[in-house]
């Protein structure tokens, strides 16, 4: 167990170094933040002086190393644009994104899995066909279109839901949540739905496909032959064996969504990390972009590790090999 953790941390450090290096290479092509930080009235000397103070005159490799050295000490600097500490900026935004992603993931699992099972068990049922058709739309229509359509219907036409923002939030130390206030919950509905629609469709299609596969296997036939009721066959024998890819994909999707909920966040002015990143890119806010990419890689690595541990829980075979100490030998 300890060996796995040490290996994981080593991997993580390497991945993050590579990500940081690639990021700094890309920053060189983004352009010059100094132009955006000073106004039209500033003289050439002031521009040069600011560039020097920011260390932008140094070669990329030097900029990269000084970033790594400071980052190791936990210092990510302050944002060029907001002039606030990068870590506190991100810490402030993270709860908003996390809440949005978690609610939409719960929605996706709660709706996607039962729908998928239903569609697999009753493939000819008209309701299942309709669900499959709608899921097609969910996979193919971009999130911002869904967001804007939702806003037009529920904010402009019906006036039921707010078009933007997070509503009222409750603060617990550095963490903030909108789940505890009525306006916060109302504000969450549309962004979470538009974000979840893709996940729902995706998980439903995945579960259906896997179920159809598993339902054809011998042990399901034997289970039926033993006279077990359908409910037990479907949910204990079949569904459980479909869960591996679903767990993997959900884990990856959560990572994806935390990192790239930026479209939904922009449409709904959801004050999360995605919105922060979009603005950082526009202003070439190098400290924010660099720290954000670091955090995203940490999230992905952590999620991957968690997914691995969930595997152990879901698949007893892995548990046995785990205790036996062998890697993949059976």
């Amino acid at each position: 167990m300890l060996a796995i953790i040490v290996k994981r941390i080593g991997n993580a450090a390497l991945v993050m170094l590579v990500v940081a290096f690639i990021a700094f290479m890309i920053f060189q092509f983004l352009g010059d933040p100094v132009q955006l930080m000073l106004n039209a009235q500033a003289s050439q000397e002031e521009r040069v002086a600011l560039r020097l103070r920011l260390g932008l005159d140094q070669p990329v490799v030097m900029q990269f190393f000084s970033f790594v050295i400071r980052a190791v000490q936990g210092d990510f600097g302050i944002s060029f644009r907001n002039q606030r500490e990068v870590m506190s900026l991100i810490a402030e935004r993270f709860p908003a994104t996390f809440e949005l992603v978690m609610v939409s993931t719960v929605l996706a699992l709660a709706i996607g899995v039962p729908l998928g099972v239903f569609a697999a068990i009753n493939p000819k049922n008209p309701a299942a066909r309709i669900a499959r058709m709608i899921s097609m739309v969910g996979v193919s229509v971009p999130a911002f279109v869904i967001g804007i359509v939702l806003i037009l219907v529920f904010s402009v036409q019906l006036g039921w839901l707010p078009a933007f923002g997070r509503g009222e939030v409750v603060q617990f130390g550095t963490w903030s949540t909108g789940l505890l206030t009525p306006s916060g919950r109302l504000a969450l509905i549309m962004p979470a739905t538009s974000l979840a629609l893709f996940q729902i469709s995706f998980i439903m299609r995945l579960v259906t496909a896997e179920m159809l596969e598993v339902l054809r296997t011998d042990y399901v036939k034997f289970a039926r032959a033993r006279g077990l009721p359908d409910r037990i066959v479907h949910f204990r024998h079949a569904l459980r064996n479909c869960m591996m890819p679903v767990v993997t994909m959900t884990g990856m999707l959560i990572g994806d969504l935390i990192a790239f909920a930026l479209v939904t966040e922009t449409v709904f002015q959801w004050p999360g990390m995605g919105l922060l990143f979009v603005q950082a890119v526009m202003f070439i806010d190098i400290p924010v972009m660099a720290a954000y990419l670091m955090i995203v890689s940490v999230i992905f690595i952590t999620l991957n590790t968690i997914v691995d541990f969930i595997y152990l829980a879901v698949d007893p075979r892995l548990r046995q090999t785990g205790t036996a100490g062998g890697a993949n030998v059976r």
């Binding site: 106004n39 004050p271 526009m282």
Partner: protein, 526 residues
């Protein structure tokens, strides 16, 4: 019948109650296209941030309803000598935390803004030092005969010295040092509104300052400022009544907003003039003419000018909302002359003839560098103009990218034709464009002289204007400089770009000036 009466009485009571409670507090919900970067007005040379923060902080002088300079925290001033200005300060003004406003506050603020690390230093180029005479008199030393100190001071807002000292914010935040400043997230000014709370990118709440020194012309109790970056969401929020005002209504949605009975659109032209600039060095950057630079021939520049169908551009690309111009500055800018506003006529045949005379009967290719996020419909403008030029044989290789990328190309002169827009802010005087854009690159002048154009006589006129305290004489110099560059077709002006605000049903009136800055201390709500 009785029950009917009862219900109607109850209804009326309920109605009056709601109107009463609505009248009790006037909340203006403002949806902007983006957030202010900071609560510190000295943090960033950003006109929009300063415009929003002007609700909280004030300068010694300000612009009035006609963009004329008017007293604010200073009641009067005089020029003692060519290098010395004396300001008499307003008495009885207090900051939001209750501290009195005195000469020390002015000194602390001027020191802070002229700090080497201050991004706003360039806004006060002539400032040398300041001295306190008594609690309500300050003397400012400038470079000799600098005429635009008052214009510059409109944007230099005043902090409270005690507050700065108590919070260790005497110096501006230096991004290079990587340390956060207190004033970034806190504010304490003398203005008509005070900051109650701020959540970056989500919501900033301002409350009326009941102790404001000026007689309020507004009736707002609270402003809730929310950035809504997505244009479609902003429009939806306005239509659904979630916001009462936006200072950025997307041009393409104006007809739709106007169709709604509750919404009023205020569309006009702002101060910013958009124009093309030419590479005027000896060599082209990307052209099939390599031995010389055709842009140095006035006939070529005039051909480019006359092949632009400005009316088509105005109707199709700008949706009829821009103001076609032959002038490099908007009418509201001092130094503007009406005679300069006439354009060379659109005449593709004349353009072809001019090109033939210049020795390019079949035209030539050149690079055309353009941004996609700078000015209103910028990319579309460049695409349309490229195709207009193509009709007379001028083959532009259009290079479109974000400002942050293109600026590097402009600054290093890697373009044959480029685009630039100039609002003359915060100075609101044509001296701004003349010294920053038109002047050749010498000393601190000509920062935006990207193409290396050189007009020694014009430089002399600009330098003379920069040292002329007499306003009329100075403006004569500036107008003459503008005439000379127009005669040589040094630049290719297009239009003053449109601006559009929109208000919902709760706003009764507001003041929209050509500088495109919301001033809600002049806004009336119903």
């Amino acid at each position: 019948m009785k029950s009917f009466l009862k219900t109607s009485v109850a209804c009326i009571a309920a109605l009056t109650l709601t109107t009463f409670s609505a009248a009790a507090e006037n909340v203006l919900k403002w949806g902007a296209q983006r957030d202010v970067v900071s609560l510190d007005p000295y943090s960033y040379g950003d006109t929009f941030t300063i415009a929003v923060l002007n609700h909280v902080y004030e300068g010694l002088v300000r612009y009035d309803d006609n963009l004329q300079i008017a007293p604010a925290l200073a009641t009067s001033w005089e020029v003692v000598s060519p290098t010395l200005w004396r300001f008499h300060l307003r008495q009885g003004v207090t900051f939001h935390d209750g501290a009195p406003f005195t000469a020390d506050d002015v000194l602390a603020s001027l020191t802070r803004v002229s700090d080497p690390a201050s991004p706003l230093r360039g806004n006060l180029p002539a400032y040398q030092s300041a001295k306190k005479i008594d609690d309500f008199t300050v003397e400012v030393t400038t470079t000799p005969n600098y005429p635009l100190l008052l214009n510059d001071l409109t944007n230099i807002v005043i902090f409270d010295k005690e507050w700065l000292v108590a919070n260790k914010a005497e110096a501006p935040t230096d991004v290079g040092k990587g340390v956060e400043g207190y004033a970034t997230a806190h504010a304490n000014g003398t203005g008509p509104f005070k900051v109650v709370s701020r959540k970056p990118d989500a919501e900033t709440v301002f409350e009326v300052n009941k102790a404001w020194w000026d007689k309020p012309r507004h009736n707002i109790d609270k402003i809730v400022f929310t950035p809504i970056t997505s244009a479609a969401t902003r429009v939806a929020a306005l239509l659904s009544g979630e916001i009462d005002f936006t200072n950025s209504a997307p041009l393409q949605d104006i007809p739709r907003l106007q169709a709604s009975s509750d919404i009023k659109v205020l569309a006009s032209n702002e101060l910013r003039t958009v124009f093309f600039v030419f590479n005027r060095t000896d060599k082209t950057i990307a052209s099939d003419i390599t031995d010389k630079n055709p842009m140095n021939d006035i006939k070529v520049r005039q051909a480019m000018y006359q092949s632009i169908d400005i009316d088509a551009l105005q109707k199709k690309v700008m949706r009829g909302l821009s103001r076609n111009t032959g002038s490099m500055v908007a009418p509201a800018i001092p130094g503007y002359v009406e005679a300069l506003d006439s354009r060379l006529p659109y005449d593709p045949d004349a353009a072809k003839k001019l090109l033939a005379e210049a020795g390019y009967p079949n035209g030539f290719t050149f690079s055309f560098v353009c941004e996609n996020d700078g000015y209103v419909n910028e990319e579309e403008i460049c695409q349309a103009v490229s195709s207009m030029w193509a009709r007379v044989g001028l083959k532009a290789t259009l290079d479109v990218a974000p400002t942050s990328l293109q600026t590097a190309k402009f600054e290093s002169g890697k373009f044959d034709v480029g685009i630039l827009g100039w609002a003359n802010e915060p100075m609101i005087d044509s001296y701004s464009i003349l010294v920053q854009v038109v002047h050749s690159k010498t000393g601190t002048s000509g920062v935006f002289n990207w193409g290396g154009w050189k007009y020694p006589e014009v430089d002399a006129l600009i330098d003379a204007a920069g040292k002329e305290l007499d306003r009329e004489k100075r403006l004569d110099f500036q107008s003459e400089a503008l005439t000379k560059i127009k005669d040589d077709v040094a630049f290719l002006p297009l239009h003053q770009q449109p601006m559009a605000w929109a208000t919902g049903s709760k706003v009764e009136s507001l003041v929209q000036l050509t500088d495109n800055k919301p001033r809600h201390w002049l806004t009336k709500m119903k």
